[in-house]
Symmetry: C2
Subunit: 105 residues, 2 copies
């Protein structure tokens, strides 16, 4: 999760991710959407791939990338868990107070 989090913390990488979410694009096509140089995009793609957020497929001299939503699964689970367990804690707290009030009445 750490790697995925670091990866999507960078705005350009989030943009790349949305670009290749629905369609497979080559590195050059991706780079065409940005102001930075090709190598910069290449490095970003490497980070995204290392984090498991994109897949790479070679086709001749080109490399095609596409999003891999499973790579975000752990992060999604972490966030949802954060909510759920927080709600559970609040619930337990409320029940504890309720029980205390019952004893005092």
């Amino acid at each position: 999760m750490e790697a995925a989090l670091k990866a999507i913390a960078e705005p350009n990488r989030r943009r790349i991710l949305t670009l290749v979410r629905d369609e497979e694009l080559s590195a050059g096509e991706i780079a065409g959407h940005f102001d930075v140089t090709g190598p910069a995009i290449s490095q970003h793609l490497k980070v995204l791939k290392g984090a498991g957020l994109v897949s790479e497929r070679r086709n001749g001299t080109r490399r095609l990338y596409q999003a891999r939503p499973e790579g975000l699964y752990d992060l999604k689970a972490f966030l949802e868990g954060f909510w759920d367990e927080r709600l559970d804690a609040l619930k337990r707290e409320a029940e504890r107070k309720e029980a205390k009030r019952g004893r005092n009445s």
Copy 2:
């Protein structure tokens, strides 16, 4: 969302966030769980507060912090949207191919 993402990309800040998720803790109590110095924790708390991930409440000479799950809402929505729209795109793609097959048969 950007700020929240950068904030939780740092491991120590994630640990802080889980520490104050269910109970309100003072800056000193939080710092007690880490090896780094107090000021370092203070800076992390500042970042978390700036991102809307924790609330701060003063009580005498102490400052009490607690997680604010709403601060993660945008990020959660982004991740869920990433899945949902991706699935929609795949569905549309499948339907398009299905229609094409129908015409050719």
